[in-house]
Structure formats: C-alpha cells, structure tokens
Symmetry: C2
Subunit: 581 residues, 2 copies
C-alpha cells in the first residue's frame, strides 16, 4: 500500500530535474497565484579531469552566500570538498528582516548545506568553527560547535588542505562604542532574527503587565534601529507593518505607546541608493510616524538608554526597549589573526588579487565579506604596460600598437574603461587625442612617449571601485571561483586570461568582474524601492511585486521557494503570528 506515489513522483521530479525551476507556478487555495520566472541557470560543462592520483582537497570555510555559491557551482569531480562552518545550513539573508517579524518563517529561508553540493563532487561537512589558519603547514584548526564529552568540552581538530577557500563572512561592527555589544541586537544570522522576533513580542507582553508607569510602558515599546542602510531601513519598515497591521489588534492599549526611531549618522538614509529613493523613503517614514534622526552618531548605550550626538555636538539620551544595530561590517577574529600572520595586519579585510587569491599566499582564496579585491593600479604598472605595448622597442607607442594590447589591458585594468566612460570618450584614440591636446599640440600626434602615456592615464586609478559587502557580490565571487576550479587544469594548458604585464605569457583566467544586477529596499506597506542597472529607479507597489518575484526565484531550492511563497500568502490571509515561541 503506497498511497503517496503521486506526491513521491512529483517530489522526485523536482529533485531530479533542476531545470524545472525555470518556471514556478504556485496555485493557492484562494485562486490567487504568482508566476515568477527565475533566472535561467547558465550551465557550464563539467570537464572533470580524473587524474588517477589522489583527489585535491578543497577546504571551504563558511556556508554563507560566497561559500554556498562556490559549493553549488563546483562540478569537477577531481576535488574533494571539506566544508567547515558553525552552521549546517545556508540562509537566504535578504529575507532576515522579514523573519524578525514573522512575515517569513526562519525555516523557510534556510537550506541544509549537505543538500547543496553537486552529486558528482565528493563533499563532507563539519559543524565547527575555524579558529586558526596555518598557511605554512597548509592546515586549518577548528573547534566543534557543541561540547562532545560529558563536561561540554568542545573538540578541537585540524584539517589539511590543498586549496583553502575562506568565505567566513564578517561580523557586526560596533565601532567599539561602549555598551553596544552587551545591549544591542544584531541582524546577521538566523538566530539573531529569531531572537529579535521573540524580543519584540516580549516587549509587548512586558508593557501589558499591571502596576507599571506610563513612561515605563513607553520605554519598553520604544524600538530603536541604528543604521540607515538597506537592512536597518527594511527592519524598521517590517516592524512598523507588524505593529500596525497585526499587533495593535491584539494589544489595543499599546497602540499609542509604540515608537520606532531610526538613527543614522549620515545626512540621509539609504545613501547608496538614488536620491529619489532616499527622499521617498524619508517621506514615507515621516508619514508612518517612524522617527528618522539624521546626523545622529551613537556614543554610548546602557541597559535602558541610548545616547547619540548630533553634528552640532549635542548629546541626547533616549530610553529604549530594544535596539537593533545594523551599521556596516567588522572583521572576524580568525581573519584578523590570519591577516597578521601574512602581513596584512592593518587592513579591514583580507586583500586578494583580481582572481580572488589572497595576496602573498599560494592556494588560499578569499571571497565575500571577509575579503576585498586589491585592484592593481595602472600607475604602478605604467612602465611595464608601455614596454608590453611598445613591441618594436622604439620608445614611443603608436595608436596601432596600443590597440593590439588594448583588450588585454582593459580586462586587466577595468578602471580604464570606467574612466573613459566617465569622460564620455569612446576609445583609447580619444584618450590619446586628449593627451595631445593637453600637451598644447593642436594636431593629433600619432605617437606617445612614456611620460605622455603617464599623464594621459594619471587620473585613471581614481576609478577603482571597492565592491559593496553584499550577498550579490559574494554569490558572484563564489560562482566565479567554482568555475576557475572546475577548469584549473584546462586553463593551465590553454590560458584564457589577459597577458601578464609584469611577466611572460597569459593569466590562466580572466579576473573576477562584478555585474551589478540592482538592489531593492523594501519600505513597508507593500512598497519597495528598486534601483536597477542603468540607474533605472522604480518605487511603489509594482516594485514590491518585482521584489516578490525576484526573491522567490532566487531561492536556492524548490523547498525554500515553495515555503517562502506560501509564507507570503499566509501573511496576506492570516497576518503574522505573535505567539512567543
């Protein structure tokens, strides 16, 4: 007797044919529906070169965006991957603000990491935290997350690697402001979001107790968000919706006592977005009664009060019930320690080259929030560039000579292209023309010497951009690195990167290049601001639907996709749950 064959077959079909994930159709009880087209997965042919010898051991630290993307896309079976992370799941972090208020359930945004690797790649997982990296011995030292023996002592062990991929992410940055660590909630992990949810309900329950002064109740229901970035703004918006749409029905007396305050040190919130979005968000919060205090720098937090300094230097102290701290990223201790070992001690994040390899280390790669790409400056290499281009060693460079190496140089130094674009120039010829004009010569010269080239490119390096600490960057880096690993042997023989400016031959791979696909800022009340490539800005209900579609399609598995979509529907129909579990 097998009554569930239909379910089982359907389920098997979903698991076995990931290509089905191109179209998601979820019909609902109500007949309402959502159709979202997920991005077609570009599939790279797997060139698993079985060497016959021992498989190369790749140790991957971290299961966030960078680590999970790397794992998901690595398809060459000549590697053996050992994943080490304190969390045995990947979490879809853009939905964490939704988890804080129960718009989406925590379990709907996580996927076990053991489910995520490809079937042909040997993978194992250890639930442990790496506390030391030894690049000399090619070892990482780890501590199990839980106590193993009866005294609760955490087991320590070391793991060898051939390649190490560091994707541990960052931690919240408290800027060493006193009291932040002890009294504030952060919003980086699933547990944080769950804790915030419980604390919000706790605040409402506490404020409903008898024998309290009115001002005490007000304090308990004063929610402070520090940081006007996308996470902070989204959390404030979610909390506002939760309070006005759901909680005031159950806690009618609390209605006039709740206050949400957003503190931002800069002059505006959402500064990384277009000005129109910033303005819209500030106006919307104004209408909603969310108190946005701009130019407020937090200086101290104690267990009941938070003190902030205005630009004028005035310090004001406000009583609070709960603080959510959401201001930028800081370095994890294990990364700090590793950076000291390799002489990068005074940096904020691990410096890598444009191929994501940690500078000064062989076989160690770093990606995501724990790393930053050190783009080689044109001016450092200017002599070598000149030498490479000046093939006839004439001491001068013709436009033709330059054009021969131009493609490689554009790939190696993307800032040149950005610079040309910013100046409205169409190509290298325009740059040379301008150089000539600056030299006082009205007639276009055919040739440049090295000093003239230097002066033409002198402003180029100002265009070097640091990538933001977002999941989008991390995910693209993970995918990029997996593709490089997949084709390591192949590209060793047939390198496909640009010519080496300082050395001979070509780089094995093209360097990593980030493609910005846009960014959302949900503002509550079913309104979202979206900034898409090409500075296309969209604000309102339509962007909210775009947001739903994109976030549904971006889910890492069919399971989470169905769960997230049904959570949204549940919220529309029944509201958010306020049980304190």
């Amino acid at each position: 007797m097998k009554p569930f064959t239909f379910f089982e077959r359907f389920s098997k079909a979903l698991r076995d044919h990931p290509s089905l994930s191109r179209i998601l159709v979820v019909s609902t009880i109500s007949g309402g529906g959502l159709i979202a087209y997920s991005e077609a997965n570009v599939s790279y042919s797997s060139n698993g070169v079985e060497t016959g010898t021992r498989k190369k051991k790749v140790v991957l630290l971290g299961t966030g965006w960078a680590g999970a993307s790397f794992l998901k896309d690595l398809s060459n079976s000549s590697y053996e991957v050992q994943v080490i992370s304190p969390r045995n799941y990947f979490a879809f972090t853009p939905l964490l603000p939704s988890v804080t208020c129960g718009t989406v359930e925590a379990r709907s945004v996580v996927e076990p990491i053991r489910n995520m690797g490809r079937k042909n790649v040997e993978m194992s997982f250890l639930e442990a935290e790496c506390f030391k990296i030894d690049p000399g011995k090619k070892k990482v030292y780890c501590r199990s997350k839980q106590g193993v023996d009866s005294k609760g002592k955490k087991q320590e062990f070391d793991v060898d690697y051939d390649y190490l991929v560091i994707a541990t992410g960052a931690q919240s940055n408290t800027f060493n402001i006193p009291g932040v660590e002890e009294n504030c909630h952060f919003l980086k992990e699933v547990e944080d979001a769950q804790r915030i949810r419980r604390t919000v309900i706790d605040s409402f329950e506490k404020a409903s107790l008898p024998d309290l002064k009115e001002e005490e109740r007000k304090r308990m229901l004063h929610f402070v968000v520090v940081g006007g970035g996308p996470t902070g703004v989204e959390f404030a918006a979610e909390l506002h919706d939760f309070v006005t749409e759901d909680l005031v029905k159950l806690y009618p007396k609390a209605k006039n006592l709740v206050q949400i305050t957003l503190l931002e040190a800069a002059d505006h919130i959402l500064t990384m977005f277009d000005k129109r979005i910033t303005e819209f968000a500030e106006e919307k919060f104004g209408r909603d009664g969310v108190d946005v205090k701009l130019g407020s720098m937090v200086v101290k937090v104690n267990d009941k009060e938070i003190s902030a300094k205005t630009k004028g230097g005035e310090v004001s102290t406000i009583p609070y019930g709960m603080i959510v701290w959401s201001t930028g990223v800081g370095t994890r201790p294990v990364i700090k320690d590793f950076m000291k070992q390799i002489g990068q001690g005074n940096r904020r994040a691990l410096a890598t080259n444009e191929w994501l390899r940690v500078e000064g280390c062989d076989n160690i790669y770093a990606l995501g929030d724990c790393a930053t790409i050190n783009q080689r400056k044109v001016m450092e290499d200017i002599a070598n560039i000149f030498k490479k281009a000046d093939k006839d060693k004439s001491g001068t460079l013709t436009v033709k000579q330059f054009q021969e190496v131009m493609d490689d140089i554009f790939v190696r130094y993307p800032q040149i292209e950005l610079y040309l674009k910013s100046k409205g120039m169409r190509g290298i010829a325009d740059l040379l023309k301008q150089a000539n004009t600056e030299n006082g010569s009205s007639k276009a010269k055919e040739e440049l010497n090295i000093e003239e080239l230097k002066s033409a490119l002198s402003q180029v390096d100002s265009q070097v951009k640091f990538l933001p600490a977002t999941g989008q960057v991390a995910a693209q880096q993970g995918t990029y690195l997996a593709k490089c690993f997949d084709r390591m042997e192949e590209c060793e023989k047939n390198p496909e990167g640009p010519i080496r400016i300082r050395g001979e031959g070509r780089h094995r791979f093209r360097p990593f290049r980030y493609r910005h696909l846009g960014q959302f800022a949900p503002l509550g009340g079913e309104q979202t601001a979206a900034q898409l490539p090409g500075d296309w800005v969209s604000i309102g209900h339509s962007s909210q639907w775009l947001w739903y579609s994109v976030y549904a399609s971006k889910q890492v598995s069919w399971r989470t996709r169905v769960l997230v979509v049904s959570d949204w529907m549940r919220r529309f129909i029944f509201g958010r749950d306020s049980s304190r579990i």
Copy 2:
C-alpha cells in the same frame, strides 16, 4: 492602489464567519487534496444578562486545552476574563511529537491566546506565572515571565477574582529518579519539542566530527525513549521515520550507527489501547529495528548512561546520546501548595466535585490535568437516597417510588448505569430482582428496605472511573464549564440538574460527563492505530488518513489548519528539514 483586495476579502470572510470552518478544502500545487469535515460547532445561545452592576471577574490560570476551550466557548458578556499564563499561546499538543522531527513546524500548532476569546467577552492576558492562590482573600499572586527592570528582576503582582478557573495542567513526572531532571528531555511544551529537534540534529553533527571512536559515535546516535504511552511511542515512530527517510541521505555514514530504544516498565506498550493495537505496534517496532525493552524500570540516569532494572532485578546500564522522558504527569508546585492550604495535601491532583468546583472552596474551579473529579459514592449517600425516594416515609421503597427518582439518581451517580451495563441488566427493576434473589426469596418482592437497597448497590461504586489526563478530557471540561458560566444566572432561577440528595431542591447544572471520542496512536511509516468508541479498532494507512483529517479539522483556527496541512504536504514532497535552527 490596493493589489490585495482579493486576499483581504477572503481573509476577512474567514475571520468573520467561523461557520465556514465546517468544511475545509485545501487545494495543493500538486493537485492532491484533502477534504476534511470538521465537527460542526454546536452553538449555544448567549444569554448575556447585563446586570447593570460591575462585571464579574473570572481569572483563568493556564492556556492549555482546558483553559483555551473555556475561553473559546465563554460567550456571556457579563464576565470580564483575566487570563494568566506563562505562554501567550495555545498549543495543539497532539502534534508535538511531529514537531520534534519537523514533520510539522512549531508555529503551525500554536495560536495566540488573545485571538481565541469571543469578541463580546471582555478579555485581557498577562504573561506571568501564578505562584500562589489565596482563596481567603480571593487573590492570586503572580510573577511576570520576563525580567522587567534593568536587573532582570521579575515583577510580582496580585490579581483579585470573583471566580477562579485553575487550568494550569501538570508537569512531567520524574518519580524522583536520580538524574532524570538534569539529563532527560521532556515533551510537554512547544519549547521542549523544539529543543528535542535541535538535539537530534546536534547528535548527528557531533557524530560526524573527526577523531572519534566508533563506540563514541554509536553512543551519540543512541536515542532512548522512556515510557510506552501514546506520546513516547509516537515520538519513537517519528524519530525512526526522520532518520530513515531524511537523515540517512544527508549523513550516510550514520546509517549503521543509529539506534532507537524504547523502555517501558509495564509488560506491554500502549496498554491503554486494545490488545490488537499493542501487538501490532510491538511487531512493527520489531520490524523497524526499534528496540522495545518491556518490563524495564529506569533506576538512574547520568550524563552518558541510563540504568534500568528488569523485573528479575537485574540492572543493565546503556550509554545514550539523548533521552526523551514521557511517563505520566506530576503536580505543579503552585497546585501542591494550594492543595495543602485547603487540606488536600496528600493527593496527586486537585479534587473537584462533579461540577468541576474545587472541593471545600467557593467560586474556584479546576479542570484538565491539574484536577481530578471526586465522584460521590453511592454508598456514602445511601441513607439519603433512600429517604429521598421513600416519599411516603414508609420505611420501604417500591419499584414505582424508585423509578420516580431514578433519572435524577442516574445523572448524579453515573456509576449505577455503568454497573447495570456491566452486569447486563436493563434497568433498576432487574437490580431489585437480583437483590431479592440474593436474599433467598424466589418471588419478586415489590418493596425493599434500606438494608436490602444497600446490599443491591454494594458493588456499584467499583465502577467509578478516573478520567485519563488527556487533551480530550480537558477540552470537554473547558467547554462544559464555559456553558455553566454562560447560564449561571439563568440556572440559578431554573435549575436543570438532578435533585439534591443531601439537601433541598435541585442542582443548578447537570454534572460534567465525559464522552470518549476515540484515540489515535501514530506508529510511523504512514500507519496509525485508532481506537474509536464502541471498541472499533482500525490500524494502517486508512487510519493515517483519518488521523490527518481529524487533526486538520480539530485545529483551533483557520490559520493553523492551513499551516498544518501545508506542512504535511511539504513533508511529502520535500522531506523534513535538518537545518539546525
């Protein structure tokens, strides 16, 4: 712009018309469906008698089955209800074993208590624990669940009542066996179920760490369940399914290391069920590899080992990874303290009369697992019964006289009816006939004196049955008491209960009478045993579907109903999630 009007209208319809809940139709993505008819809610007309004076204050302690049913059914607006409980939600406890393994999510089985009262009844909730009841001052003393001031001190306060309804439930019974409290998991609250779920995943992650001995891994993956009642059996079955259906895929090495052991002190598991069910369950566990150790009494638990004594007196000690303790119920401290105050110190639970009023207390009612009904014995009242029936005070009772009061006596002493049934007698005449026969008289006598009545009824009280500590009993008691409260004033004037045997007039209400609707024992692998009224036994896949239908329809709200059903579908399609959150 309101794109969700359809959703909103649908949602409003669901909230405003609870009668819609008679039919539940959930269409699914897969086209599979489940139609479950939930029991039609019998609605009692609300006779809210507005007295013009102050509303009577009902304090309700507890939000379990008894408390939630009382709250849900109380419809007389002349009361003001103050609910006090450490949990601001009602939990559908029969699904807790499913929550332990993620077959159903915790949030799908809870409903905020503030949502559960009727709209016309004034209700407020305090998240606090009652630690003392003072029947003299008509006060309860409570402690808030969370720290309110900065030192984390929990606020204490007292609440006055006119009527007190005690429905605090029971706690797990450790029988004072050393080490149980510290080392075992219980399964009474939602938090317990969530903790068990995390611990199961933790065990698998721990056992996957490097550098461990095989026997240590085996110990970590040895799950022990103590108690072969429905909860223990269901948990063992759920865990077995979770391991074999989901976990072995992700932890292939653990496959041969996992062991589930069920310890039961009696000679069989599921002793409260029909023998056929017991046999089936024991056989199924045997086939599944769940080691059922019957006649094993736990004598000691330490942090790694559990010791059990067989009936022969042999003590064996087994290493374990996790123990779930599920053996009967014990008394909560606040109830123990209250029982001492009112002279019931040596009992297991609060004794009430047949109307659920606590014996020796006015205006205090107790129901659910914290209470037990003290059915008045016939033999205690035999003289009064005789007096009431013997209206002509002749000193003898005729069949006719007896029949006049018979209905009332049957209602007051249900054991008489049970006794007659057990002896195959059709009515009181048969009883009298038997009494005469026993007296040696072959001819049916028309009259009985008191001694003859005593001897006829001497065995009757052996039929007094104690009600089991189940949600079904508690829910029926809550509904019964709510109906009594609703019609308190009305029945004061027109009492509808049986005649008072020891006093004058009639009782206001008919006494509480439990109607057993059957019981399920899910055994895993989509098989359930069901014992329905009339000793109808059903085992297998069909009962599993009955189980799904009944449990879906019994959900307290549309929200939880939809969530539970979609959780089940999610499990069929995608399996259970093993992320450690």
